[in-house]
């Protein structure tokens, strides 16, 4: 356990020293400023009725948070993809592996360190965005903490995938595959939504299956749910029927069963990564 924590501390330090966190901060400030401007226009343009404005605020926030979800996913993939492969290629890893550390400790320590950075980023970005939106428009989502948690877990899923891929693949290959998987999972979710809307079982099943193969889209829908006020869900369902087909709408939170599955998914992915790393020749 000491080894894991030491590696995690080293990994966090690397993220801070290599200005990764600084780069995140810069991107975040730009995006938050953009969303502040957008919400200001929405609230003060005068072209919307009060009802339309009220309805548009949660929807706009979901769109902005989708943007942040993409940044988190991209960052998670970028952070996870070089973890093992790049360090093995450079020779840094050999000096660590020769120490009395289990390879599982090294892998999990690196995951823990990067997940800590990701959690910090998700917390800051959520807090900043919700705070700015509240100041500009007075709107606040009902469960901001849970939104941050789902955002983090979604990113952590992609981080885990990229990290596991990095055991066998080059950093570029692992990163590209990680991003492609995220895109495919989201697209499969949209396809599934279309299947639900038009009652096409095959398309609907694609969305359902994808959420179990890579849970990023399922977790994103968890974040959406906690971004929506209850009246918004009720009125959306009442006015345009069940919006289960809308990729930016969630009428229910992820089930407890699904959350258990997500925990198992993390365990299996990290176990596969550990197995691969244990057998990796350095």
């Amino acid at each position: 356990m000491n080894g894991t924590l030491t590696i995690a501390a080293l990994t966090v330090r690397e993220a801070l020293r290599r200005r990764l966190v600084g780069a995140f901060a810069l991107i975040t400030v730009c995006l938050v400023a953009l969303s502040a401007w957008g919400f200001d226009r929405l609230s003060h343009s005068g072209s919307l009725t009060s009802g339309e404005q009220r309805l548009s605020e949660p929807q706009a926030l979901i769109m902005f948070m989708f943007m942040f979800s993409f940044v988190v996913a991209l960052s998670a993939s970028a952070m996870g993809s070089p973890v093992i492969g790049a360090d093995a290629e450079s020779g840094v890893l050999q000096t660590i592996v020769a120490r009395p550390l289990r390879r599982s400790e090294i892998l999990f320590g690196k995951w823990l360190g990067l997940a800590t950075v990701l959690a910090g980023y998700a917390a800051v970005v959520s807090g900043l965005e919700f705070g700015v939106v509240r100041i500009v428009s007075g709107y606040a989502p009902p469960d901001p903490v849970l939104v941050g948690v789902y955002l983090f877990v979604e990113g952590a899923a992609l981080l885990s995938l990229a990290l596991v891929l990095s055991v066998r693949l080059s950093p570029i290959a692992a990163g590209v595959i990680g991003i492609a998987v995220f895109g495919c999972a989201w697209l499969a979710g949209v396809v599934g939504s279309l299947g639900t809307t038009f009652h096409i079982a095959g398309l609907r099943d694609i969305g359902s299956i994808a959420r179990y193969v890579v849970p990023t889209d399922g977790l994103w829908h968890g974040a959406i749910y906690y971004l929506e006020p209850r009246w918004f869900i009720t009125s959306s369902v009442a006015s345009i029927g069940n919006r289960a087909g809308d990729p930016f709408f969630a009428s229910s939170a992820p089930s407890a069963g699904y959350l258990v599955f997500v925990v198992c998914w993390f365990a299996v992915v990290l176990a596969i990564g550990t197995f691969g790393f244990e057998r990796k020749e350095l």
Partner: protein
């Protein structure tokens, strides 16, 4: 016949731990028929050798002989295909044993975004050195490798030679019982090489076993107690330098007062041939020079000069490889 070929190794020596559980009498390194295959490429084809505790052991061989693969196997960085390897009385790669091993890899790279002190401190943490001992251990390591005063500098600002010195410092942390140096002077200038030799001698003086993987034969000649020559993944010769080089001296003689081809009657197994004013006698056995001189004097010759020419390790190394082909 090569001296002390190590193909025949008593496999019972692998039982490093005796009935009382003591590991103290086990060799520092002991391998029997160690094999490693990377798909179609055979890197090691039955490597057998024994490195005793407290000795400086040179591991020599041409490029591609399998030296670095063997080192990585001993440290658990790669897995063996066959055979056995014991390090400090435990199977190679054993987690706890790694605490007692210092390692400088051939491809030495440390985190450029850390300072030299931080790199060493992290390795102290990996070794689980007591917190109170860490700063002292870091200072000592920096001082030994000639980086005192450079501790607060980022590794990224270091030259390759300084990074290799840092790697040496990392390998020395925690007073290891066995230090494995894989080409430890590849990036160093002559001063640095001298320093490394001094470090190795210092380690020997305190009883640390040093496993020196090098292709610099003069380096091995200066510091090693014993060497193994590796070729095509197996040990082709092993022994002390005296065993490898001894008994094969060449002697140049300048003699006056004898007529004819007197050198044909010289005693011993060596061959003698005139070269200008000199007679060169090859393969003179150890201690055979006085016999030669006595023989010449008894026959009325006047020995003007005797110049023994010992075969260098490099010459012997090339000879061994040629014999093995």
């Amino acid at each position: 016949m090569l001296p002390n070929r190590s193909a025949e190794v008593d496999s019972t020596a692998l039982r490093a731990v005796d009935s009382s559980g003591s590991e103290s009498r086990s060799p520092a390194i002991h391998t029997v028929g160690l094999r490693k295959q990377f798909r179609a490429t055979v890197a090691l084809r039955g490597l057998s050798m024994t490195v005793e505790r407290g000795e400086v052991f040179g591991f020599l061989g041409p490029n591609g002989a399998g030296k670095t693969t063997a080192v990585k196997l001993l440290l658990g960085l790669v897995r063996r295909t066959g055979g056995e390897a014991m390090v400090l009385g435990a199977p190679a790669g054993d987690l706890e044993t790694r605490r007692r091993i210092g390692y400088l890899p051939e491809l030495f790279r440390y985190q450029g975004w850390l300072t030299a002190e931080e790199v060493l401190l992290y390795h102290c943490r990996f070794l689980e050195l007591e917190r109170a001992r860490r700063s002292g251990a870091v200072r000592e390591a920096l001082s030994i490798v000639g980086l005192a005063g450079r501790g607060p500098d980022k590794v990224a600002t270091f030259s390759k030679g300084m990074q290799q010195r840092l790697g040496l410092g990392v390998a020395l942390l925690g007073n290891p019982e066995l230090v494995v140096f894989d080409e430890p002077t590849s990036a160093l200038d002559p001063v640095g090489r001298h320093d490394v030799r001094e470090i190795i001698r210092g380690l020997r003086a305190r009883g640390t076993t040093v496993f020196l993987n090098t292709h610099l034969l003069d380096e091995a000649e200066q510091v090693c107690d014993r060497v193994a020559v590796v070729d095509q993944g197996q040990v082709v010769a092993t022994g002390s330098l005296a065993e490898l080089l001894g008994g094969r001296a060449t002697v140049r003689l300048r003699v006056e007062g004898l007529e004819g081809m007197w050198w044909r009657d010289l005693p011993g197994p060596g061959s003698a041939n005139p070269e200008g004013a000199w007679v060169v006698v090859r393969d003179v056995p150890s201690g055979g020079v006085p016999d030669l001189v006595r023989h010449i004097v008894e026959r009325g010759g006047c020995v003007q000069a005797v110049v023994p020419e010992h075969e260098s390790l490099e010459e012997r190394f090339l000879e061994i490889l040629k014999e093995h082909e």
